[in-house]
Symmetry: D2
Subunit: 346 residues, 4 copies
């Protein structure tokens, strides 16, 4: 019973099928192949963004850090949430790729930046001078690191503030599909229509082996981006195999269906937590549950072989109730969800 | 008929099979899965290097540049051939990853460094002082960018010179399998027994989708390497899919068999070139043929749909004879090889 | 009446005299001159550190950032106070020089790290894994950005915690002289005897034109440091002019005398603030006063031509009382100090 | 008798005088002082470039590397001569500051790029693709590393080729004054009128202690440059002391007079070399003589205490004739010049 992470799970059969389809004979390398072209077009269609520049990379860290380097100079200030993945979980990749950009982290309920906090930070940043660096971009994560989701209106409010300061808005969408599935909105409503300038559209956590799409809605923002990918070792010579994965996910709404399934699993667990006397630390709006549960229930879950992380870290072991994170994937076995839910209910 | 590059070709069925095998259920991420462990062990067995540190990345540029950053400080001098892939074809990735290391490039017949040239360069480098930077490492490619191969004795001669200067020796083995297949030696004879300290063992050009192994024969040299991979976005969360590819290649000598097949194709073409009045620009020792052919034969090959690069670039178009490069892969169709050979014979 | 910053003030006549003394005829460049040798020795004597490696650079940002790059890999975590100069005022120079190191900032009263907070942060850092990076060093500022001073015992407590975690301790001593002058201790008591591994010994704010000494108490920590200086453009070809400045300050205790004078000015102002009904935001232990004063007194000071910064920034204009920072230098005219003090007394 | 380097010599009394003049009381820091404003204006007047952006830094390496980072992205190709200072003598600072730019070095007589070679290299670069990087800028040195000088027409020919390829032209003018003094032209004729976009105008080798001016003739090219200076530790808080040095040199043509004096010394030595049976390896057009002299004359010069470097390095010791470099400064004693000349005449 693995609830440790959605990246602990497998690739969807349709992804494997697409890889097999792509695996025939010679195609020109470095993205000049028909699979890549089709996958780029498929992503543009999902986003209703016919002009967007779409590129594929193999990890979320690469996707985010490349966008940071693209949108921020070395002396730039990148505004994000205190708990943003780019701050906490990418080993300072944004600083490495950008050659020094400073992440200015901001507090916010439920892992979400709020407009007033951002606006105030941008005012301070505008006066930071040489000492503080130059404001360069705003980055949000949707779904967030706390499993919550920004609505299109919330994204738009942040985008407006960023744009008024002359800054582009980046969305780390490692779990973008989960956010869309939760909201029931369209992909474009949550991105360019709301003012998002660059999107990292995650595949890895949602049924791919290792594939993410980087999308620039304004092609002018993508100038030179391919060189950055190449210089950081993120251009695949056999690019068709990256592209095929995203092509499969983008086809027939698979990306949304898989996310909806993972989200549904999380809802089951959330209710079970509450029934068992636990509390939800955040609204459950995607595929992760942040909760506290009674220590005896935790002990029973562990005894039953359930894998999950205590949160924020293992120093929580021994507390009662126990804070933890449960993450579901598209292919978390329903039996596992049911079994854990039964334990959680007490 | 694609002879443009070996990376234009597909993944081997055994690789696809290994991916399918790996694609079942949940496994812990970031390399803490059993497939990764087995693949690392398989590479160590191929190299008869039970203590070696083995890591997987998805591109050759990443593999090489990460090793450069690992073995050279920002102010380091990296000695390599004028035509080394790290110099000509990686968009300055070694400089980017290392934060400034200087590639000191040296001439040499057939794409190979020769000991006297290297020794002299290291003497100059030893006196380069603050202005010139600090000698840090030596890098060779085997098989080389000109399709030639260093023998174990040739590698050992260079390693000895490097080691006497206190420098480690890196081997870019994007086509390592082709070199071993040509030489008929063991993998260890061509690497650690000859003094190689770090090896990039290529899979992508030899039947993988996108997978390379980075090998440090002395674990002390690998200190902190995982952080470098992570910070540059080259740690896969679902690492099993990288590992599975190399596991397939490392099993039952597949890596060697596939390379031997590609090499054999190249031999067929090389003889055909000579029969048709062309000349070989380099000895054909791996899977690439560098040659000149009469212009009329070139015209017939193009008319028959043969794809290949003029060499060093398309400015050679219109010359007679025409210099070109023909690259074969494990799965270049035999019919294509035969058809092109027939044309080349005139 | 300039109380804006100590770097608004001039160079001491002895510094100018030393520059004139050094300005005769030819000397070998890049530090191979007798002035440099004498200045290095003078700093070692001040610190009672005969084995220390001493190098001169021209700015405090360079000194700090070079030490960070020396002691932290690109994937390192550098622990410092929320308000550390390296975090707030160096335009991400540590990230730039180190190629990505993450500054982990910690709260603390009066601009000072406290041992329990540091110890807890290091425990978290030890479990940060690849995502969070590798703990690399601890950096403190003495005197702090809030004008307070760490005692030798306080430094030792932090050093012990750092060392137990295997990390070196860096002291940003842009106002080191002010700290020593306040404490009445020896320079060695506040540095290596207390466990400091690397010191940036400031000259610029204390009577030099532009000169800082970087000191590594353990020569092994300085390995390759000269290359870093060179590669970042911080090796002066005519190094004697950097060295002469520090030689003058290090001679006959001038560095301490000048700092004591600046500190004394600050004490005068601090008492005046209190007499006038203002409050001190921090204990006044060096040459800066952080205080609030009644708005009418502020208005009179401005009318009298007093220059100083509102704190933390000009958004404080209009408040009553007004928070501000007053900084004194060795050559702030006594008449100016007296005049401002009179106004502050109300 | 020091002919080792022009940076072995002292600062001019007028420079010291300007420093003393600047050394009075409080001035706002970071360049917001009147000395800086006057010095910037003086440089603009020297160059007849009223719109130019002028900034001061303390070393030539910083000046050049900052311009490289300003004009080239990390994936850029910087075209320069094989013997350019940025390639041979700056410890890979351009790569470090730019975060990876590749120096594409080109051969050329007398240390000078020739137009045909440059044009051909730019054609190759235009086809370099992702593998080779993106052409970003052209850099020349005037006077060159071989003591020769580009005329305005020669500069214009290179500028035209660079601009046709869309690239800016940088001039490393560490010895710009020597070039102007030799040519008898105006500073503007040799720079913006000839198409130079960015100039590093050297002071250190020509009577300053440590000061260089960076000049962007088109202010648009300077966007963000101050942040780069700050982030690399090259913003002086007491900027007046950098500025005062350049102000003194720029006043009353002092920069040109000092360079003319150094050049004249070199002419004396050049004739003496020829009279003594030596040969000039390059035309003597600035303040350095590259020559060979009979071994017995070399022995006598050494016995008389003459300091100079064998060229390209000390491995030339023992040759007959002996290749060497003699560099003169504005304050090389005339008696020393006469004494060495007497020896050289045999």
């Amino acid at each position: 019973m693995n609830f440790a992470s959605d990246n602990a799970y497998a690739a969807h059969p349709a992804v494997m099928g697409a890889l097999n389809d792509a695996n025939s004979g010679a195609m020109m390398g470095y993205g000049a192949d028909p699979v890549t072209a089709r996958a780029q077009e498929a992503i543009r269609e999902v986003l209703e963004a016919p002009e967007a520049v779409v590129r594929f990379v193999s990890t979320g860290t690469a996707a985010n850090a490349l966008v940071c380097a693209q949108l921020s100079p070395p002396y730039g200030r990148i505004y994000c949430h205190d708990d943003a993945h780019i701050e906490t979980s990418e080993c300072a990749a944004p600083e490495f790729f950008s050659h020094g950009a400073k992440l200015v982290t901001l507090p916010g309920q439920g892992g979400k930046l709020d407009p007033a906090t951002l606006a105030q930070a941008l005012r301070v940043g505008a006066g930071a001078g040489l000492n503080g660096g130059k404001s360069a971009m705003v980055s949000i994560t949707n779904a967030t690191e706390w499993g919550t989701v920004y609505s299109p209106a919330e994204v738009a409010a942040l985008a407006q503030i960023a744009h008024q300061a002359g800054l582009p808005l980046h969305m780390d969408g490692a779990r973008f599909a989960n956010a869309v599935a939760h909201l029931g909105c369209s992909a474009e409503d949550l991105t360019w229509r709301a003012g998002v300038d660059a999107l990292c559209f995650g595949g890895t956590k949602n049924g791919a082996m290792a594939a993410e799409a980087v999308v620039f809605f304004d092609p002018a923002l993508a100038e030179g981006f391919d060189y950055r990918r190449k210089q950081s070792g993120h251009v695949f010579s056999k690019n068709r195999y990256l592209a095929a994965q995203m092509l499969a996910l983008a086809s027939d709404g698979l990306w949304r269906d898989l996310a909806a399934r993972a989200n549904a699993h999380a809802q089951v667990l959330a209710y079970a937590v509450l029934e068992g006397g636990g509390t939800l630390l955040q609204p459950v709006q995607s595929n992760a549950v942040f909760a506290t549960i009674p220590a005896d229930i935790h002990a029973r879950a562990r005894a039953a072989g359930a894998l999950y992380y205590l949160w924020p870290d293992k120093s929580a072991e021994g507390l009662d109730p126990v804070p933890l994170r449960l993450v579901c994937a598209w292919d978390t076995p329903e039996a596992d969800v049911a079994a854990l839910a039964a334990i959680l209910r007490g």
